[in-house]
């Protein structure tokens, strides 16, 4: 199931903090859809270290959608993939 988090109006490092908090609360089958005004490159190594995978879609130059799910959660991965592949 999709969980949405809008961090586009927050200043660093709140987007990172909130995203890291939110991914820890994902239940089995859930993926996180983060809305951000910039591509959060600093988030990626932190996600990888915590066992998450991510996919970023640039919707506009100031609007990015980042999909995050647990590496071990195949259901969430499939659902996230179908979401951003639309």
């Amino acid at each position: 199931m999709e969980k949405r988090l809008d961090v586009s109006m927050l200043e660093p490092c709140e987007p990172l903090e909130r995203t890291l908090e939110a991914v820890q609360q994902l239940s089995s089958g859930d993926f996180l859809h983060v809305m951000h005004r910039r591509e959060p490159h600093l988030l990626y190594p932190l996600l990888e270290k915590s066992g998450f995978v991510w996919h970023c879609v640039e919707e506009r130059s100031d609007q990015y959608a980042i999909y995050i799910w647990r590496e071990s959660d195949q259901v969430a991965g499939k659902e996230a993939t179908s979401h951003f592949s639309k």
Partner: protein, 446 residues
């Protein structure tokens, strides 16, 4: 834009490298305040007084260049995706050479010691040259050349020009080879230092940090693409015109006329930055933004002073004119922005390094403080208020040195003590949490 390729803290230097630069800066500020407090009005007689030159270098080298060098060594992997080679060794050596060199330079200005002068020029020459080579290698290796990277490249070239001119002036070589007019060359040294090194780096860094940290719209694309390269080329042309004027090939007024074309570029940058700050998406009070706003207004104020000084000979001939420009550009613009940035860089680096370590260890029992917990808003606000008071007193001291110079020194000293204290608190929070994480790692290995 941040570089995606293998972005990781593994490429960045240990946090102790930038921290040593950042902690040294307020100490130089403290010495500058002390100098003003003790010698007061004598520092405001003329820009050419050795002690005034000493005070200027305490701030430009000891505070501004110190923070800018530390920040570049740390931020290049993050902002440009390109680490500085041998960064630990380069960072330690540059810090040592620039710190000791700047200290000796200032003491040579004050005491007139020839040995201190020769030693300071050698140390500063070695420190800045080493910094230039290391950073130039990193900047040349950048794969994705953004507008910020272009501005950084031009700024470090400007830093090298500033150094070379400074070394030539300081060693007295120029007068030996027949340069009668040293004063215009000091202006060229100052131009490359203030407008080139500080100005271009500020412009380039702004493209990243203003939209990111102050949550504003992006700078206009045309400005990002052209402003820094055009200003750099304009400074090159200005330097050639100055040289031509020195050798009486053209009139003295021509480089000045040319500068009238360069200045609007910096004014445009300040106006656009203020406009972007007005369009902030999230209007919550932010200390860094307040420091930056003072910096931007100081750029506009100094530009206005320069224009008036070049229109009116009465103003131009007054010794206060150059001092007012110096206070406006170096303290008003330079120190304000650098002081403000420290309140973002230090908490951000501390938080990010700890977060990275926490996740590497998968240690959720040790709480990492959030960014605002490293330096409290209240402490930063107090320091901001004291800093603003010191700036007003510095401006007042230009017109009435005997009334305000000592007081300006005292308040500037206080401002730097408060800044130093705030940074020490942030760094000690970092080390305490880091120690807890390391203890966790040791315990879990047993």
């Amino acid at each position: 834009m941040l570089n995606t390729a293998s972005l990781s803290l593994d490429q960045a230097p240990p946090i102790s490298i930038p921290f040593r630069f950042f902690l040294t800066a307020p100490l130089f500020g403290l010495v500058a305040g002390l100098l003003l407090l003790v010698y007061g009005p004598t520092l405001f007689l003329t820009r050419w007084a050795p002690m005034t030159l000493g005070l200027t270098h305490l701030i430009t080298l000891g505070m501004l260049a110190m923070v800018m060098c530390g920040a570049l060594l740390q931020m290049l992997p993050v902002l440009a995706g390109s680490p500085v080679p041998a960064v630990v060794m380069v960072g330690r050596l540059c810090h040592l050479l620039i710190t000791v060199g700047a200290g000796l330079l200032v003491s040579s200005f004050i005491t007139g010691s020839g040995i201190a002068n020769a030693l300071s020029l050698s140390l500063l020459g070695a420190g800045v040259f080493l910094f230039f080579i290391a950073v130039a290698v990193a900047l040349l290796r950048v794969k994705q050349v953004t507008h910020t990277v272009t501005a950084m490249r031009l700024a470090v070239i400007a830093f090298l020009f500033t150094l070379v001119l400074g070394l030539l002036l300081g060693s007295g070589v120029l007068s030996k080879v027949g340069f009668g007019h040293i004063a215009p060359l000091v202006d060229v040294h100052l131009g490359w230092g203030v407008l080139g090194w500080i100005g271009l780096l500020l412009i380039g860094i702004s493209y990243q940090v203003v939209p990111m940290f102050q949550v504003t719209p992006e700078y206009p694309m045309l400005m990002r693409r052209f402003l820094a390269p055009v200003l750099f080329m304009a400074l090159v042309v200005w330097t050639l015109l100055m040289l031509a004027a020195i050798f009486s090939l053209i009139g003295d007024f021509i480089p000045t006329l040319w500068m009238f074309l360069v200045l609007p570029g910096f004014m445009l940058y300040a106006v656009v930055t203020l406009r972007l700050q007005q369009q902030r998406k999230r209007r919550i009070p932010d200390i860094t933004m307040k420091f930056w706003r003072i910096g931007m207004f100081s750029i506009l104020f100094s530009s206005a002073v320069w224009i008036i000084g070049n229109v009116s000979t009465v103003v131009a001939n007054s010794p206060q004119y150059h001092l007012l420009l110096g206070v406006g550009l170096i303290a008003g613009a330079g120190v304000s922005v650098v002081n403000g940035m420290l309140y973002k860089i230090v908490p951000f680096l501390s938080w990010f390094h700890l977060q990275n370590r926490q996740l590497s260890l998968m240690c959720m029992t040790v709480q990492v403080p959030n960014m605002k917990e490293f330096i409290s808003d209240k402490a930063a606000r107090y320091q901001y208020n004291v800093y603003v008071a010191s700036l007003f007193l510095l401006f007042a001291a230009v017109t009435k040195p005997e009334w305000f110079a000592h007081m300006a020194g005292l308040v500037f000293l206080l401002s730097n003590i408060m800044l130093f204290r705030n940074l020490v608190i942030a760094m000690s929070r970092y080390y305490t949490t880091n120690q807890a994480l390391l203890s966790y790692a040791v315990d879990s290995d047993k």
